[in-house]
């Protein structure tokens, strides 16, 4: 279902076209072409060796693990793994680019023609094409503060392996772009090829955005948005840019092809003229690196080590566990969350829907409240399963169980310990419940008369009174049954 943007100024309808270029830093120990560490946060230039510095005479030697990681990604998005791919030099001068060229892949990338389905808000699925993913080296960093008239260059990051994942211009809204970005983010972490840390820049995104009048076939001129380092900013930057372009065109202007920087503080994009000027990258095959050959057996070896992928897992949760596509999507959004959920189901010996509700509801809420990750959950999978067992065997009600969980979370005790200590055990003794109900009936003759005269709504009043009298511990089912019988007279 197409989603258009209606101009508030003219009422014209515009179609938005978005393609993303994602840079995922590969989680190798050493750099793509040198044996320096890729660890984040080291003192300036302490992890920049002769190759990273582009010293005269040094040569690049490709990291096998970076290649394996690219293959992992390619297989996970159903792409072709090129049997022969070529490294090329992208030539430009910039202080964070020591050699004056970046080693990248141009005409023959390692991963070609993949696809990534995303779930739309209406519950339908849309497939986003992945044009290519290629290996390249990251650049260093420039510091502009506290050095007077100078900028300082730290080349620790230079040479860190990147997988640049380029989508087709298949997205039609900022929301779709975010959904796609999140899917890729989840996938690279599942595959353990990228830590996905957006603050540290291990997972970065540039967005190519254009608009065209609905019905027009030709794409509009696109702007490339850079520097968007969170999911929220991706959405906001694209939204801003869509508005800017429509407004510009409708007021008689034209969009120019350019790079624009997203300023999150001002929530706007602005032209980066410094990078614009005469981009002529003079790509050519890097003569220092021979063609990269990947055999079918190399691919098979990597395929054998692939984990269950998020979409496969989600499909299994739907078919085997009876979960909704939405729930399955949430639970598979990270490998750790899915593992937790599956551990709860295993320990509980079934009841997947109950498990899912508790993981996505109460547990997620507490994690969120305490700013914790699922791996740091204060209630482990087995402990949660212990609580859920007390719900299924009617020891505690659903409502009381939430109270039990809070105590488990804060005190680190098991469900049974909390139930015992607090005396929260549900009353299931029919005689006891009947005795309490009789007291309630005796104390409220008017309501009894009213109910018996046909005021059915008063039933709720009696349930409330009886529950109150048991301190909420009466088994709700039993209480209902007995109450109905006794009220009937």
């Amino acid at each position: 279902m197409a989603e258009y943007v209606k101009s508030t100024l003219t009422g014209r309808e515009w179609e938005v076209v978005i393609g993303l270029e994602i840079h995922a830093q590969l989680a190798t120990q050493s750099k793509i072409f040198s044996a320096s560490s890729t660890a984040y946060g080291a003192p300036p230039n302490s992890q920049a060796n002769l190759v990273d510095l582009g010293y005269p005479g040094v040569l690049p030697v490709l990291n096998a693990e970076a290649v394996r990681m690219a293959i992992r990604f390619g297989l996970a998005v159903g792409a072709n793994i090129a049997p022969r791919s070529v490294f090329a030099r992208k030539n430009y001068f910039y202080p964070d680019l020591p050699k004056g060229y970046q080693i990248s892949q141009y005409e023959l990338p390692v991963v070609q023609h993949g696809r990534m389905p995303i779930l739309l808000e209406d519950g339908s699925t849309k497939v986003i094409g992945i044009t290519r993913a290629h290996l390249e080296e990251d650049a260093g960093k420039s510091m502009h503060e506290g050095l007077g008239a100078f900028s300082g260059i730290d080349l620790n990051r230079a040479g860190t392996p990147l997988l640049e994942i380029v989508s087709e211009p298949d997205m039609r809204s900022a929301k779709e772009a975010v959904a796609y970005l999140k899917k890729i983010h989840t996938l690279v972490r599942y595959l353990e090829i990228c830590d996905g840390n957006m603050q540290e820049g291990s997972f970065r995104c540039d967005a190519n955005v254009s608009v065209r009048p609905v019905g027009q076939e030709k794409f509009g001129t696109r702007a490339e948005l850079k520097n968007i380092n969170s999911f929220r900013f991706v959405e906001k930057a694209i939204q801003y840019e869509i508005g800017r372009q429509i407004e510009l065109i409708e007021s008689g202007g034209t969009v120019v092809q350019e790079t624009r920087l997203y300023d999150s503080a001002r929530d706007e994009t602005r032209s980066m003229r410094s990078k614009e000027e005469a981009n002529d990258y003079r790509y050519f095959p890097d003569p220092d690196l021979l063609p990269l050959a990947i055999t079918e057996s190399d691919v098979a070896t990597v395929r054998a080590t692939l984990p269950e992928l998020p979409d496969e897992k989600a499909a299994r949760f739907c078919s085997d566990h009876g979960l909704s596509a939405y729930d399955a999507g949430v639970l598979t959004s990270s490998r750790e969350l899915a593992a937790y959920y599956e551990a709860v189901v295993a320990a509980a010996g079934g009841e997947p829907k109950l498990c899912a509700n508790w993981v996505m509801g109460e547990i997620a809420g507490l994690l969120n409240r305490d700013g914790l990750d699922i791996t740091a959950s204060k209630v482990g999978a087995t402990a949660l399963a212990g609580l859920l067992a007390r719900i299924t065997d009617a020891t505690v009600s659903n409502k009381l169980a939430k109270e039990v969980l809070l105590a488990m979370w804060d005190e680190g005790r098991t469900a049974d310990e909390v139930i015992e200590a607090k005396g929260l055990k549900q009353i299931t003794d029919t005689g006891a419940i009947e005795a309490i109900i009789r007291q309630v009936i005796d104390a409220n003759p008017e309501q009894v008369a009213g109910y018996r005269a046909g005021k059915d709504k008063l039933f709720g009043f009696f349930v409330g009174q009886a529950m109150k009298a048991t301190g909420g511990k009466a088994n709700p089912g039993q209480l209902n049954d007995i109450l109905k019988r006794l009220l009937a007279g």
């Binding site: 005269p56 005479g57 040569l59 030697v61 030539n91 050699k99 790509y283 003569p287 690196l289």
Partner: protein, 486 residues
């Protein structure tokens, strides 16, 4: 004793028999350098102290009995090889104060073999030139006639070996930079197969063409030294993991039945008849030794120079981008902004020929011209390479002249780049196809040496060296010394 007239094998034998020590040998060459380098200017950096220290270490090794075949042999390194702690200039102002923090693989291997480093030799700036006149450190004179060029780019190495200021020197060859100066100074020089010798630590000019090799009086000397530097290096992705034969032990191979192909295109069109006559004399020698002379043709050979002058500048324009005044190399004074830093550091640091090649390369790679120039050149390169392969089905070794003329006068060609480029008309083909090739002295023309070029299929260094050695057993051109340096 005239130590400088002995071959490497004779020097090694003398050291082992204690006829002289490595220190005495080093002192002999240091004295020759001190006497003659002022005029010849073969060294950019002369390292007598290092030589004496190396010699002392070599003497200790010789005494302890764990010396190798090259222990104690003095050597000059082309100043394109990075040497830890010793300035490496690449003939450029850009690297006037550059002290490499590491050794090139070639340097490391020769040091491990126990050789004695006499110094770093002069060269055309960044190896771009055929006359050694583009060096920032002054021109080099040809020992045979000091008014003439020694050839280039390994002109310093050629001159110091020709004048026996060193018994052997390293060189690099991108389009003929070992073979042409060897020819012009009457010595032997081998450019091995691309990938045979590690390029790690050799400052890149054109990465798909550059190859290190050896320059020495004889093929036998070359064989001994090539053994030491050849072989796989994990630090160079283009280094090939093929075992290194014992070149010196295989030198005795007979040329009987060897099919020697005369490349028709080398002998036709513009080759000076006197030069052609020397090549034919050499073929006579081979025929008399039992070799079979066959005629072969590589129709596109004439396109090798224009092909090279697209490919090499393209690669160099990118390779030399790292010299930006930030991490090493010349930095201009008081840059007003980043652009100024780049442009002036590079504008001041590079000489005219280097700038010319960078600009040529930038142009042929730029948007709109890539297909017409760069891609086309790579296609023609393929054609030339296939023609060589076809020729090697008919012949085991190809021969021809190394250079069109003997050494020309200093200053004669500096103002005309195309004429200068055509000096490499016979040598460039082997670089484009990555083939091993040698030049050996094959006669004198009006008192100036000329070279015979031998080209082999990939990894046929042993065949080339044997063929060259057989010729040198039958002739004495390689023993001739310029009178002033005998």
């Amino acid at each position: 004793m005239s130590l400088h007239t002995l071959s490497v094998a004779e020097l090694a034998a003398g050291l082992r028999r204690k006829q002289f020590s490595a220190t005495e040998l080093a002192q002999h060459f240091i004295a020759r350098c001190e006497a003659h380098n002022g005029l010849l200017n073969g060294y950019i950096t002369f390292t007598p102290e290092r030589a004496l220290a190396d010699a002392a270490a070599a003497d200790a090794r010789l005494a302890s009995g764990n010396a190798g075949p090259l222990t104690g042999i003095p050597l000059a390194q082309k100043d394109i090889f990075c040497t830890d702690g010793i300035r490496t200039t690449c003939g450029s102002r850009m690297l006037e104060n550059f002290v490499s923090p590491y050794d090139a693989t070639v340097v490391e291997r020769l040091a491990a073999a126990g050789t004695v480093l006499l110094g770093k030799t002069n060269m055309d700036e960044f190896a771009m030139g055929s006359s050694n006149e583009t060096s920032y450190y002054g021109l080099v004179r040809n020992p045979w006639d000091t008014a003439r060029v020694p050839g280039g780019s390994s002109g310093g190495s050629a001159a110091v070996v020709a004048a026996r200021l060193a018994p052997v020197a390293t060189g690099t060859d991108t389009g003929g930079s070992i073979r042409q100066p060897a020819a012009l100074t009457g010595i032997s020089g081998i450019k091995p197969t691309y990938g045979r010798v590690s390029r790690y630590g050799m400052i890149a000019f054109a990465s798909s063409l550059d190859q290190a090799g050896i320059m020495a009086p004889s093929a036998e000397d070359c064989a001994l030294f090539l053994e030491a530097i050849a072989g796989f290096d994990p630090r160079d992705s283009t280094s090939v993991d093929v075992p290194v034969p014992a070149y010196s032990a295989e030198l005795g191979q007979s040329v009987k039945g060897l099919r020697i192909g005369v490349v028709r295109e080398f002998m036709e069109g513009g080759l000076d008849p006197a030069n052609a006559a020397l090549v034919r004399d050499a073929l006579q020698v081979y025929a008399s030794l039992g070799a079979e002379i066959v005629d072969v043709s590589c129709p596109n050979m004439g396109m090798s120079v224009p092909t090279y002058y697209v490919v090499a500048p393209a690669e160099c324009s990118s390779n030399l981008s790292r010299f930006d005044g930030v991490r090493f190399g010349h930095r201009c004074a008081d840059p007003k902004d980043l652009m100024d830093l780049y442009k002036r550091s590079r504008g001041e640091g590079f000489g005219a020929e280097v700038k010319r090649r960078i600009m040529t390369g930038t142009y042929v790679l730029s948007a709109g011209y890539y297909d017409a120039y760069y891609l086309k050149a790579q296609q023609v390169r393929q054609l030339i390479s296939r023609e060589f392969a076809a020729a090697f089905t008919q012949a085991d070794v190809l021969v021809g002249p190394t250079s069109p003329t003997p050494a020309f006068k200093l200053g004669d060609k500096v103002d005309d780049p195309i004429t200068m480029y055509l000096n490499d008309i016979y040598t460039i083909g082997a670089n484009l196809a990555g083939l091993p090739a040698m030049s050996i002295p094959c006669g004198l023309l009006e008192g100036l040496p000329l070279g015979l070029q031998l080209i082999g299929p990939h990894f046929a260094e042993s065949r080339l060296l044997s063929a060259a050695h057989a010729y040198q057993q039958a002739t004495d051109w390689h023993r001739r010394l310029p009178a002033a340096y005998a």
